[in-house]
Structure formats: C-alpha cells, structure tokens
Amino acid sequence: MSTGLEVTATGPAGDTTAPPVATAGVAVATHGLTKRFRGGQLAVNELDMVVPRGAVYGFLGPNGSGKTTTIRMLLGLVYPTSGRHELLATAMPSGAARVLPRVGSLVEGPAFYPQLSGRANLARIDAVDATADPGTSAARVSAALERVGLLAAAKKRYRAYSLGMKQRLAIAASLLQPRELIILDEPTNGLDPQGTREVRALIREIATGGVTVLVSSHLLAEVEQICSHVGVMRTGRLVFQGTLEQMRARGAARVQVRTTDPERASSVLESLGLAEIRASDGEVSAQIGEHAPEAVNRALVLADVPVAGFDTPRPSLEDLFVELTGEGFDVDG
C-alpha cells in the first residue's frame, strides 16, 4: 500500500523541511498553505502536508482545528490567503478542471436535493461533470449505488434516507468515476457504531484498489485501523505527519517505579542518564530510552531503593494523540 516514500515526521514547532520528493509519488502536497478568514481568524497556518500515492492518510485533529478548511482549500472551494498546493501533481486551483474529475470527495457531511431520489441526485451530479459520458451515466450511477449498498433504496427520496444512507450516498457520488484520490471529510460523523463499521469497510475496500484516500476525523480510534499515514492538526498547524509506525515510535517508553523512597530512586535514574525524570509521591518515572529495563531495575535494587513496583508502559496512540492535540480535545466526540 505504501509507496515506500518517506514522509518526514514534523516536530511541533513546525520544523517541516520536507525533503524534495518526486511529485509523481505524491497525491497531495501543500506548501505553506495558509487561510486567514475575513475577521482575522487564522484557520490554517503554514501547512506543509504530503500525502503519498496509495496511502490511506488519516487527517486528525479536534473540531475547529482547521481540517475542513484545509480540505476545502485542497478542493478549490476556499482560496488560500498564501501558499499553494498540488493535487495529483497538478497545481490547484488553476488545474481544477483537469484534476478534480480524478478526485472524489465528501466535504463536511452529505448534501443533496431532498426532493430527489438517491438515483436522481447522482444523475444530477453526473450531468454536471463535463468529462462524464452521458451514455454510461445510468450504468455508472447504478454501479456506485450498488457499491455502497443503496441500490434497493435508489428510488427513495433523499429526504427519507437515514443519516447512514445519506453518508453512503455521498460516498457513492465520489465513486461515479474511476478516481485516483478520494478525500473524505469526517465520513463517520454522526453515525452509529454499525454505520461507522460499514463506512470503514467501504474505505478499506476503496483503498485496496490502489486509490489514495485522505480521510479526516476528530477521533483517532475511528481511522486508526485503516490508516497507513497520519497527519495531526492543532489550531491550524500540522503538529505531526508520518506513518502510523512513526507516530507510535514517537511515544517514548517510560520506566515507572513505585517506591517509598522516590528521592533515592530519582538520583539512581539520573546517574544512569535517564531523561525527563518525574518524581511524585510514591512514584518515579523517566524516559527509559535505550536502557534495558532489567538493568535499570538491578541498579535500583543495588542502590537499596525499595522497589514495590516496576513497569515500562508505552503510551497508546490515543495518549500520543491527546498529547499532540492538547487540551480541549473532544475525546468523546
């Protein structure tokens, strides 16, 4: 799935000096993309995003962190204040007419004509596409409906659709043409667990065809299982970008010592050269780094530290995520 292209992990300070990458291998690239809305609100700040071809890129961040504005800029709906970007190696928004037919998208929830049926809605979308062959329209609409499991409800008015069906119709609209890139903004928003699973399975299926998928979510857990790469937004900035493995590796394991003598334990850990030592009542922790846990434990015991408990927990992705996105992160959705 991954093209083997290295995506640099970016530090929180925005030291995003992405190496020059062959544009052919990149589905989405932004360069200092910035959007300041009238009224001065800085929604997206100097965004340097790289989505390799073939990746399933989880675009994460709390509500209001600038994900949707970024996606609207990617698709040419919102014009950046500064910076530029390319989709499928085509400059946007000038190349919109050429590149957007190869990009399917769902932007901030589904929106269709309530008085029309699901099929009529897709036919309308298809009629607007200058590259679409009118002769195959009906067949393509049926195929897209079938792919999202809506063929049985094709004649039903959109108004009568459940939220899950609406969401799936929007995904069907993005599948009317063969695509190279699919951008899905919060595709599972507001869905029940069953609907979420369905959409996730659909995304996985789309991605197996080699299509690059950019999927945004404010919940890491929702996309963790399907992503190869993640980008994390916080208040308009991309605070992390890389593969899921790189994100995991970023979370340094710590050593956790329960003891009645935290002072002595601290000094032992310090003498071993462990970083970020935090001592609290009855417990001392530090980054374990390259040290073997058993060696640390032995050193503690030899120094007469009463060790009542010893553990080397690795932070979960969720912990790392919360650490990246900071306070106010809407963990429960």
């Binding site: 709906l77 919109a96 050429r98 590149v99 037919p101 190869r102 929106a111 269709f112 062959d133 609209a173």
Partner: protein
C-alpha cells in the same frame, strides 16, 4: 452528443483531460443546462407558480367576458384600459392585457423566486460545494444558472400569452387585429406582434433574472435574495410613477418594460423599443458581471 472532434493531443495528457477534449464544451454544457431545467421544472413550488401564471389569464378572461360591455369606444386612460376595450372586440388582445397586468407584479415575483434561488438555494442546501468539486467549474455553473433563468423567463411569458390567447379565442371574437393606432392587420400579423411582445417581456424578465443572479451570489439565504429582488422591482416601479423623480426614471430597471406597446402600432416606433432593449442589455451585462465578480472569488463555506 457533441460531434466536435478534438485533434490528437500531445502525449502525457491525463485520461480525464483527454475525455473533456473529446466531448467538447457545448455538449456537456447543454447536458448540465438540461439537468438544471429538470431541477427547476420538477419542483412543486415552481410548478405552482407556473400554474398561477396560467390561471390568472383564465380568470381575467372570464371576468372580462362577464363584465365588459361589447363594442366599447376605447378612449380610456392608460395602456391597460386601452387593451381592456380592445379585448371585447378581439380575443387576441387578452394576451396583451394579461402580459401588461402581470408584468407589474406576478411575472417579476415568479422570476424572482427562481433567480433568487439559483445560487443561494444551492448554497443553503450545501449542494453548491458538491457541484463545484465535481467540478462544475465556476464560470460554467454561473452561465448554466443564468441560461436556465432566461429559459424559465421565456417559458413563463409564453405560458401567460398562450393561456390568455386560448381564453381569448374561446370567449371573444377573433379576427383581423385592429392596432392601438387604428390600423387593421391580418390575424397572422397580430400573432406575430404578440410573439415579439412575448420576447420583449421575456427579455425584461431575463434582466430581472440577472439582478436576481447577482443578489443570489451574495447570500446563502434564498428567501433574502428573493425578497431583495422584489424590493428592487417594486421600488423601481414606485419611483417610476413619482413625477419628481423624472430625472432618474429613464435609468430605472423597470422604466422601459411597457415600451412594447409601440409594437402594437403601425408603423412601429422603434425609438422606445431600442431604448428598452438597450436598458435591458446594460442591466444584464452589469449584473452578470457583479455575479461573476462575486462568485469567481467567493470562498464556498456553506
């Protein structure tokens, strides 16, 4: 659909771009216009408005048949009353009368609903963003929206004329048409003049539609756009009837709308008509430009 064959393109052209070139511009544009018109003419609200356009001439015909004494001498005041007496003598005049009466309020209202809804309606439903990411193309979408408004205006005026003509034929005598100038022309000539009147009134409605398109590009609330269009139309008509505003009156959007009455005289005085068409053309250019200036640069956040 389109028979335009593109020349072979240099290598490295993406398949989608090649497809666009093969299909040409006109075919897909017409397909989009058709989709737009289907959307307009399948909406219950719009059909109801069109039914009103058909119904008013019917009521008008019946009311005249019942109340107007035959063989009136036709020396009334304005355009409307001149027609009123003509109707009794010739049913064709019911069409002119209906267009004149409905041009002040009903036709503008019907056109305002569709024009005001054009962009604002898509924005408020959220469908605008999905049309643009297809991609519809902003210029392409705007041109299709305006073309649909023009077609809708034409059909609205044709419906009024057709309904009135049918009622006129059914309820009143029909024959050679005696024009307002006293000359008599054969029925075919009268119908041809009616066609020109319908086209002129449609052009006036298309002008209101351009104003509507511009207002519709400024808001995400269709009702606000519709109301604003009606306020402009009514304010213009009121100003046009206040003698103190004589200086500005020729520049008002509605000032020349009734200039079509010169089509009903012989010989046809083209001065008024030319002024009218010029006014309509200038307004269309100005307001379509405003719509484009706004829409081409707008951040679509709806």
């Amino acid at each position: 659909m389109s028979t335009v064959e593109a020349p072979p393109l240099p290598g490295g052209v993406a398949p989608a771009a090649g497809a666009t070139a093969r299909r040409g511009v006109v075919g897909p544009w017409l397909r989009m216009l058709r989709s737009e018109l289907v959307l307009i003419f399948r909406r219950w609200r719009n059909l109801l408005l069109l039914a009103v356009l058909v119904g008013i001439p019917v009521l008008l015909g019946i009311a005249l048949r019942v109340s107007v004494p035959r063989g009136g001498d036709g020396n009334g005041g304005g355009l409307g009353s001149a027609f009123l007496f003509q109707v009794a003598g010739n049913g064709v005049f019911l069409a002119f009368l209906a267009l004149t009466i409905m041009l002040t309020l009903v036709l503008p209202l019907v056109v305002a609903v569709v024009a005001g809804d054009s962009l604002a309606g898509e924005a408020s439903a959220g469908t605008l963003r999905y049309l643009l990411v297809v991609p519809a193309g902003r210029a392409r979408l705007l041109s299709v929206k305006y073309a649909a408004i023009v077609v809708f205006s034409l059909i609205s005026c044709l419906l009024v004329a057709a309904s009135a003509l049918i009622m006129g034929v059914a309820l009143f005598p029909v024959g050679p048409v005696t024009l307002l100038s006293g000359t008599t022309v054969p029925l075919s000539g009268g119908l041809l003049r009616l066609l020109f009147v319908v086209l002129y009134v449609s052009a006036a409605m298309a002008m209101l539609g351009a104003i509507g398109l511009a207002l519709s590009s400024l808001t995400e609330h269709p009702i606000a756009a519709i109301a604003a269009i009606m306020i402009i139309a009514v304010a213009s008509e009121v100003t046009d009837n206040v003698p103190q505003f004589a200086v500005v009156q020729p520049y008002l959007p509605t000032h020349w709308w009734l200039a079509f009455d010169s089509l009903l005289r012989a010989p046809i005085d083209t001065t008024e008509l030319t002024h009218g068409l010029l006014s309509i053309g200038v307004y269309i250019v100005i307001f379509c430009s405003i719509a484009w200036a706004k829409f081409s640069n707008a951040d679509i956040t709806s």
